[in-house]
């Protein structure tokens, strides 16, 4: 979108009476954040009231911590991503807040159970607040360090390498350092432990985006034509295939089916968007189905998951059977349309009720209505991200934004689908809702990147400077101009038509 050259007069006019700029909409964001805070506060009060506890100081502390954290986040967005989409941060704040309320509420139930049986009990909610604070610090760091998302293309291969190493790390490490509850997806360090796969997914998305943008044209034209479809050359596709295969092998080895499914979906979508060929999706899906069949034959834990999916009530009392899913379904059924009311249900009956099955608890206490609203908030968040991706001018930004947005919905689909028996249960985190540091940190990085892209999408073009008298060198003396490397698909020459 090159500006037509302006005359001196026009430049003067522009300076005295500039055209209307795109509003930053930061005020909207603040209002929406206030709205989210209001909902979360009401939720807290409800929990306290239904648990027949006095309105304790806890609520004030949690409330203040929540308000403080998101005030900082808002200020940061104002300062470093002023044109970012005004709905993304409030959606995140609402989801994060509701998750916090639910974790706090399950803490209350578990604490009561623990005092009854005389066991020690460590509450999760304060830790989640701490994780939220850390996440927002990281969020801030990303906003500050990544001033322009296009700079990320420079680190595409680095990100891919680190992402793959991080992904593979738990598989290589001895179980004592990497296994929790049978899932070998952790790296346990003294003091804390992280799930590197959560971060890998973002690093790999950066890699895929930069790689695909760089090779995009080659994919589309350079290969042989088979059945009317141009296949890319193996050497162009190689790194991508290797990356995808390594991811999947590692995940099969780590028994982390959820992340495997998630990454596969992301790769497929990004490939499709970059090449605009539906055949990729079809090929990918056929590979996926074959892979599933092989995995089903090879791994008993996959067979178990499928059996639990087909009828969790039949495998109810088997070890590793459908007990958890069945309890989740009982909770959802008990909640019904309107829910039992926050704090009045029994979400703690479901194992892992504050992590994998937090949506079952929310569905029980908020009912179909509440759970549907939460899903719609996710959809809103993802579509705002997608809208930014559509509007941004560079292909890298588009591809990354699209991948990040899709990731949000894909995560929700995999976990909520698993909890509600739509697909086999694979166990990943529910973004922003479920308890856990790695997931929260990674998803806040994701949101920071989305905000950065959306800021780029909505930020008005540089104001035209008054035309400077140009020193035009004689053509013969002009040196050859090094065209800027196209980190973002030749942005310098304008947007290729999509």
């Amino acid at each position: 979108m090159s500006q037509p050259p302006l005359s001196d007069q026009a430049a003067a006019l522009y300076a005295s009476n500039p055209p209307r700029e795109m509003p930053t909409r930061r005020g909207t964001e603040l209002a929406m954040l206030g709205f989210a805070a209001f909902i979360v506060t009401c939720a807290f009060v409800l929990v306290q009231a239904n648990q027949e506890q006095e309105l304790s100081w806890a609520i004030v502390w949690y409330g203040l911590a929540y308000l403080g954290l998101f005030a900082v986040a808002h200020a940061a967005v104002r300062r470093w991503a002023a044109y970012a989409d005004p709905l993304i941060l409030p959606c995140v704040a609402l989801l994060n807040g509701l998750g916090l309320v639910m974790i706090y509420r399950i803490d209350l139930a578990n604490a009561e159970e623990a005092t009854r049986s005389g066991e020690n009990f460590a509450a999760d909610a304060p830790k989640q607040v701490l994780f939220t604070a850390l996440s927002l610090a990281l969020f801030l760091a990303v906003l500050i360090v990544v001033k322009d998302h296009r700079t990320l293309t420079r680190y595409g291969y680095t990100a891919g390498l680190i992402g793959m190493v991080a992904l593979a790390l738990p598989a290589v490490l001895p179980s004592s350092l990497s296994e929790v509850n049978g899932a070998k997806v952790w790296v346990k360090l003294p003091g804390f432990s992280i799930q590197p796969a959560e971060f890998s997914k973002i690093l790999l998305m950066i890699f895929f985006s930069s790689f695909l943008v760089a090779k995009r044209d080659l994919f589309m034209i350079a290969g042989k034509k088979v059945f009317g479809v141009e296949l890319p050359r193996a050497r162009d596709l190689g790194p991508l295939l290797i990356a995808a295969a390594v991811c999947l092998l590692v995940l099969v080895f780590e028994k982390d089916l959820g992340t495997s499914l998630l990454l596969f979906g992301i790769v497929l979508v990004m490939l499709y968007v970059a090449t605009e060929r539906a055949i990729w999706v079809l090929t990918g899906l056929s590979f996926f189905i074959v892979g599933c069949l092989i995995a089903y034959q090879l791994f008993t834990h996959v067979q178990q998951r499928v059996a639990n999916w087909i009828d969790p009530l039949a495998t109810y009392s088997d070890p590793g059977g459908g007990y958890q899913i069945a309890q989740g379904l009982f909770g959802l059924g008990t909640g019904g349309v309107g829910g039992t009311g926050l704090g009045a249900g029994r979400p703690e009956i479901v194992p892992e009720s504050n992590t994998d099955f937090i949506t079952a608890g929310l569905g029980e206490e908020l009912g179909f209505v509440g759970l549907a609203a939460i899903l719609v908030v996710y959809l809103l968040l993802a579509t705002r991200g997608m809208r930014s991706a559509l509007a941004v001018r560079d292909t890298f930004g588009k591809l990354l934004g699209c991948g990040l947005s899709f990731t949000i919905v894909m995560q929700v689909f995999v976990i909520v689908g698993g909890v509600t028996k739509l697909i086999p249960m694979t166990g990943i985190t529910t973004p922003f809702l479920s308890y856990g540091g790695s997931s929260l940190l990674a998803n806040y990085i994701l949101v920071a990147l989305l905000l950065r892209i959306s800021d780029a999408a909505r930020r008005p073009s540089q104001k035209p400077r008054p035309k400077q008298p140009q020193q035009q060198a004689p053509l013969a003396e002009a040196h050859t101009v090094m065209v800027q490397r196209p980190p973002a698909g030749g942005n310098a020459t304008g947007e290729p038509t999509a």
């Binding site: 648990q51 027949e52 139930a109 009561e112 009854r116 049986s117 005389g118 979508v269 499709y272 968007v273 970059a274 605009e276 009530l313 109810y316 069945a326 379904l329 009982f330 909770g331 959802l332 059924g333 008990t334 909640g335 019904g336 349309v337 249900g345 029994r346 009956i349 569905g363 009912g367 179909f368 759970l371 549907a372 899903l375 719609v376 996710y378 959809l379 993802a382 579509t383 997608m386 991706a389 559509l390 292909t395 588009k398 591809l399 699209c402 947005s405 899709f406 919905v409 894909m410 929700v412 689909f413 909520v416 689908g417 509600t420 028996k421 739509l422 290729p496 999509a498």
Partner: protein, 489 residues
């Protein structure tokens, strides 16, 4: 690139719509199935936190079980007044271990889910009160229950005692010792609950067994009432002569069956035989009557009829009766004859009621939550409808039982109350001669107009060991029940 991105956007929308459709199916269509699944603990917990109805006595509305408000999540804790004393009746009600006894039998009323409480529930909903369960009014007379329980525990007896109004079948007392405290199981403290459960179930004395209705014992000589009834119905009279031989050889064997202590019977009439509890005449009677007649009379006393009061009663039985020898031994309540104490009670109660067995019943009526509204009242019911013996023969047998009481030792006798009774001393175990016998006593009073019938068993001789007899051990307890019912005590 925008076109595929828009399509991805539509795919995202589709995924969320799929999730929404699925949760609609789960939370709207299938919700009831999941909600009411028996494995869904939420429903149970919901019931546990409802204000459960009370269990009260028909006598002065004495409360046997009610609730106290707690500040924990279950809101109300079950409380039993005199828990161990009434445990065989009330049972227990525990979050962890479920329920038993009346708590289980009338759970629907007590937890408020019974349809008869529907109107009340509806009005509770409108007025915003938390729904409450209905109450159960029992036929139990606390005076009788406590007299019997206190005496039995004071003596350290293991056994059971049941008393009822022979005319209506209303159970006035049902005691089983040793007992357990259901309060411990109803505690909301799971450690207390668990410890109590382990203590009760590990106890070799089996305090949680309701011996009055869940256990069967050889009835010993008390069974002679049944044989006597059958004999009278088949033409004998009080003066029918009987053998006074000290023993009799069981037909087809070399085994002899002797009177208690190997003595000769002091009399030679049927009446004497019952009054002195001579074994030889009754063994012979049973042999002469044959299995069919014996079974017919037994059936009219209720043996073989499945019974629920509404607590389930273990079935009593006569055994195979497949030979003369078996008949002889069964005639004195040994061999394979097994009765519950409640069934033993029905022997004397049926005689007291002129030969007609009444259906034993523990519930007087079912009440609304505030005890003012009556949902259902139980009226006396005949057990089989066929009399076990005629009124005239019942009077004859009563006379014989009065004579038996006159020969019975033990404490608690009062001059002003005429009791008709029969004792029993039942051998059991693998080495019957060396095992202390079960002491039995079954009786009713006043003989002329029976108000209460009672049966008592003290397992394995109580505190008298091998020398125990029904008279020396069990009679005192039966008389305590009678005295408590008829005043004074």
């Amino acid at each position: 690139m925008n076109k595929p991105m828009r399509r991805v956007g539509i795919a995202m929308l589709t995924m969320v719509v799929l999730l929404l459709a699925n949760i609609t199916y789960i939370q709207v269509v299938k919700a009831d199935d999941y909600r009411t699944d028996s494995r869904n603990r939420r429903v149970l917990l919901e019931e546990y936190s409802r204000q459960r109805g009370s269990i009260v006595s028909q006598f002065d509305g004495q409360v046997l079980a009610d609730v106290t408000a707690t500040d924990d999540k279950l809101k109300f804790e079950r409380r039993y007044t005199n828990g161990p004393m009434y445990a065989p009746v009330t049972g227990y009600y525990s979050v962890r271990y479920g329920s038993a006894g009346m708590e289980r039998a009338e759970d629907d009323i007590l937890n408020g889910s019974d349809p008869r409480l529907f109107v009340r529930r509806l009005s509770d909903m409108v007025t915003g009160r938390d729904p409450r369960g209905g109450s159960v009014q029992l036929t139990i007379n606390p005076a009788v229950q406590s007299a019997v329980y206190n005496l039995m525990t004071q003596k350290g007896y293991t056994g059971a005692a049941v008393a009822m109004n022979p005319k209506t079948g209303e159970i006035l007392a049902m005691v089983s010792t040793p007992s357990y405290d259901p309060n411990a199981l109803a505690s909301h403290d799971s450690t207390t609950q668990q410890e109590a459960w382990t203590r009760f179930t590990d106890d070799p004395a089996e305090p949680m067994v309701n011996r009055a209705i869940s256990e069967t014992y050889p009835p010993g000589s008390t069974f002679k009432l049944l044989v006597a009834a059958a004999e009278l119905e088949n033409g004998a009279t009080a003066t029918t002569p009987v053998s006074n031989a000290p023993n009799v050889k069981l037909p087809g064997t070399n085994v002899t069956l002797e009177n208690y202590g190997g003595e000769s019977c002091p009399g030679t009439t049927f009446k004497d035989a019952l009054a002195y509890s001579c074994n030889v005449p009754f063994a012979t009677f049973a042999g002469q009557l044959g299995a069919d007649k014996l079974r017919a009379t037994a059936a009219n006393f209720g043996i073989g009829t499945p019974l629920s009061i509404p607590l389930a009663v273990a079935p009593s039985a006569l055994g195979d009766l497949d030979s003369q020898g078996a008949l002889y031994q069964s005639g004195i309540g040994q061999r394979d004859v097994r009765l519950t104490p409640l069934q033993d009670l029905m022997l004397s109660a049926t005689i007291a009621n002129g030969g007609m067995a009444m259906k034993p019943q523990l519930i007087k009526s079912l009440l609304g939550a505030d005890l003012s509204e009556t949902l259902q009242t139980f009226s006396p019911e005949k057990l089989t409808g066929t009399p076990a013996l005629s009124k005239e023969n019942a009077a004859v047998l009563t006379d014989m039982m009065i004579a038996s009481e006159a020969n019975t030792k033990g404490g608690g006798k009062r001059g002003d109350i005429q009791i008709a009774s029969k004792t029993g001393t039942a051998e059991h175990g693998t080495d019957p001669k060396a095992t202390p016998p079960h002491a039995w006593y079954t009786a009713f009073a006043p003989a002329a107009d029976p108000q209460i019938a009672v049966a008592v068993i003290v397992e394995s001789g109580g505190n008298r060991g091998l020398a125990a007899t029904g008279g020396t051990v069990a009679a005192e307890i039966g008389r305590a029940a009678i005295n408590a019912q008829l005043g004074g005590g």
